[in-house]
């Protein structure tokens, strides 16, 4: 088997007309030409063809060889156009189509992948939360309050309000009851913020704290609560978040994470940061530690106000019992309340005297009708 070919030696751009033949021991190709200093022997087992080549009957052959290149290939190229030779090579040398990797490629991949995952995790779990914590303490309170208003407006839009204030429940008697509850909770406490509590008219069972002392209850939560004490407990919990600046910290952390996630998911411009912030505040949990701190704060607040914390645990138990299944109520899914935390609330309640109900029957009724 022999034929003509063109050879490039990988050292100069000169072209060599060569004669290609099977060696005598039938184990190699012999490449000879007038312009080559010496005949070349390319073992058949090392031959590799270039893949995805736009063919027209042409075969470009090189050799498997460890080099500093991106693929372990001899820089020399042998171009064959002779149909008989090309056909014979393709038929008898399946190794032509083999692809090879440099030794140690697997380790290389693992190392880089581990590095990538590690760096992203470090960023998301350590660096951004730390930065968020620091920056949240540096934001002036007026700015935080302004931001809180924007976030609250954003939430209202999420819940379907066509304009700001469209979902706001403003029953006078109900608001008076809410204020009374708030006064009872915060009497003698140093909150540091002017609290602004409002109710949005939406069946969603939810409550959230926005930056700067804004607390929002969603009607569904009041509907589901059996006692005013349960509502008071939820408010106390949200005040705990406010005092710890959790919403602000979370907003900053989410903004940073959104930058990372948008890159990983391909939306580089990241214009939707504000939306993402609102979305996360509404839908995602604070860290477990933040929840525990808010709980502890809520229990201290309830105790100081002489309100039984029994409602706290019962409320969640009831929610979990009634709506167990795939569709957990929103408040429960975003504020995962372990049995331990419910139990903590109940232990706290046991044997403690209360200073009378937090709302009268009439006030409680008014609060439940605040959206009517």
């Amino acid at each position: 088997m022999r034929g003509q070919g063109t050879f490039f030696d990988g050292e100069t751009a000169g072209r060599h007309r060569v004669e290609v033949a099977l060696s005598q021991d039938r184990q190699a190709l012999t490449i000879s030409g007038l312009t080559l200093p010496a005949d070349l022997h390319w073992p058949l087992a090392d031959l590799r063809a270039l893949s995805d080549h736009a063919q027209d009957g042409q075969l470009v052959v090189t050799r498997h060889m460890i080099t500093g290149d991106e693929a372990p290939r001899d820089p020399a190229r042998l171009v064959l156009r002779d149909p008989a030779l090309v056909g014979w090579l393709l038929e008898t040398r399946p190794s032509l189509r083999k692809s090879d990797l440099h030794p140690g490629t697997g380790r290389h991949i693992l190392r880089k992948a581990a590095l990538a995952v590690g760096a992203i995790a470090l960023m998301l779990l350590v660096i951004l939360p730390a930065m968020a914590g620091t920056l949240a303490r540096l934001i002036p309170m007026e700015a935080e309050i302004r931001f809180g208003r924007a976030v609250t407006a954003q939430m209202e839009r999420f819940l379907g309000a066509s304009e700001p204030g469209a979902l706001l429940c403003d029953g006078d008697a109900g608001q008076a009851a809410l204020d009374r509850m708030l006064t009872r909770l915060t009497d003698g406490q140093d909150i540091g913020y002017d609290l602004d509590i409002r109710v949005f008219d939406h069946p969603m069972l939810n409550a959230f704290a926005a930056p700067g002392g804004h607390v929002v209850l969603v009607r569904g939560l009041i509907d589901k609560a059996e006692t005013p004490e349960a509502v008071a407990a939820v408010i106390a919990h949200e005040i705990g978040h406010v005092v710890n600046r959790d919403p602000t910290r979370n907003a900053l952390r989410v903004a940073g994470s959104a930058g990372i996630l948008s890159l990983l998911l391909g939306d580089v411009a990241g214009g939707a940061v504000l939306v993402a912030v609102g979305d996360r505040l509404l839908n995602s949990a604070y860290s477990r530690e933040a929840e525990r701190n808010a709980d502890a704060y809520a229990l201290r607040m309830l105790n100081a106000a002489g309100i039984s914390s029994e409602g706290f645990g019962d409320f969640f138990d009831r929610l979990a019992g009634a709506e167990a299944g795939p569709a957990l109520p929103e408040y429960l899914s975003t504020h995962p309340l372990s049995a331990e935390r419910a139990e903590q609330a109940r232990r706290n309640a046991a044997g403690r005297n209360t200073a009378g109900p937090v709302l009268s029957v009439a006030e409680w009724r008014a609060l439940r009708r605040i959206c009517d």
């Binding site: 760096a119 960023m123 920056l135």
Partner: protein, 395 residues
């Protein structure tokens, strides 16, 4: 002394094979949630590169999918960390310094602060642009000899920012200067083997290809001015529409012909010169015809899918076709989208590349025989930044 020999370039790739290859790549990319794209891009480039020949010898693309994937990982990690910090910082600034978010102006100001993120990426975009060309050259061979490019991505990025600012401040009048100097910066760092390219010519010469841009703009302004002055509604609408069309064609003309000028004024080692004569009309017609063909095909297939949906929905209370039909419809829809992408490569991208190659000539090609190999470039990020920032381009 032998006479100077002209070597024509030729593009031999066919629509069928590249359509098949693009479609296969698209399907595998979808099935692997995007991971295969690095390998797919390498395969398509191997096909396109090997379809181009100069003086009868084919080009070769040697880049691998694996190095692209790893480069992408590194770039993403770097950018993610950078973006995370920038984003959180800008959010903080936006919250602290800017006004009432409830007013429209305050909202806009705050949105601007959040969108500064994009501006903070501009240096990386330019950096990535240079690195992508360097990588492509480092993975291109002709007659077994590597092309290459010197390091210099940051130098490019900062110069480019300067040129952009100048171009914006002069309302685009200095665009030719920008095009010329940025291309010269790159070209003067490009190598074939041990021999360097050089960009000759003058930036002022690029005003000739730009003339249709100016005409288009003039027609728009004239239409607006005359329409308002003479109070003629027709003039106010017609001329700007014509001007806009003219401007669009003018922009394409500038891109094609500035490429032709800059290529024709490149030299390799002071010995080999080039000539490029792409036709603006051919490029535009390729877009138009390819666009119409693909658009029609998508409309017909989409219409058929819609018809099937509507006929199977009828009479079923749930307003949804049976699950089996629904799955088939979704598959059909996905196939249509992937097919349209592959058809774009086969009917628009490749023919344009082919046109550029077919109108290219190298002068005194025999001087290349003495050019020697250069050492391999490891190509640290292998275009990863360009991919992460989504400026990879079609091929």
């Amino acid at each position: 002394m032998s006479e100077i020999r002209y070597a024509d370039a030729r593009y031999t790739g066919q629509s069928g094979p590249i359509f098949g290859l693009s479609l296969k790549v698209a399907v595998l990319t979808l099935l692997t949630l995007g991971i295969y794209r690095f390998w797919g891009k390498s395969r398509i480039r191997r096909y396109v590169w090997s379809s181009a020949e100069l003086d009868g010898d084919r080009f070769e693309y040697t880049g691998t999918g694996l190095e692209k994937f790893l480069g992408f990982l590194m770039a993403v990690v770097f950018l993610a960390v950078y973006l995370g910090v920038v984003q959180i910082g800008l959010t903080f600034i936006g919250l602290t310094l800017l006004g009432e978010p409830e007013t429209d102006a305050g909202m806009a100001a705050q949105a601007l602060a959040f969108n500064l993120t994009f501006l903070s990426l501009v240096p990386f975009l330019l950096f990535a642009l240079y690195r992508a060309r360097r990588y492509k050259l480092a993975r291109t061979r002709w007659r077994g000899i590597r092309f290459g490019m010197d390091k210099g991505a940051w130098g490019y990025a900062f110069r480019a920012i300067g040129h952009y600012i100048l171009t914006i401040l002069t309302l685009g009048i200095l665009l030719p200067r920008q095009s010329f100097h940025l291309e010269k910066y790159m070209t003067d760092r490009m190598w074939f083997g041990d021999t360097r390219f050089e960009q000759g010519g003058r930036w002022q010469d690029l005003y000739a290809p730009m003339k249709h841009v100016f005409i288009g703009l003039a027609v728009i302004l004239l239409g607006l001015a005359a329409g308002i002055a003479l109070d003629m509604g027709l003039l106010l609408v017609a001329l700007p529409v014509i001007g806009l069309l003219w401007l669009t064609i003018g922009v394409i003309h500038y891109r094609v012909q500035s490429f032709a000028y800059l290529t024709s004024h490149k030299t390799l080692g002071g010995q080999i010169a080039f000539d490029a004569r792409p036709q603006t009309s051919t490029v535009i017609m390729t877009y138009v015809v390819g666009g119409i063909v693909i658009g029609l095909a998508v409309a017909i297939i989409g219409g058929l899918l819609g018809a099937v949906f509507l006929t199977t929905v009828e009479g079923i209370a749930t307003a949804m076709p049976p699950v089996g039909v629904m799955i088939l419809l979704i598959l059909g829809y996905v196939a249509m989208i992937l097919g349209a992408g592959a058809a774009t490569t086969a009917l628009i991208v490749q023919p344009i590349v082919a046109h550029y190659v077919d109108t290219f000539t190298a002068i005194n090609i025999d001087a290349a025989n003495a050019i020697r190999q250069r050492v391999a470039d490891r190509g640290a990020d292998a275009e990863g930044f360009a991919d992460a920032l989504d400026i990879g381009g079609a091929i």
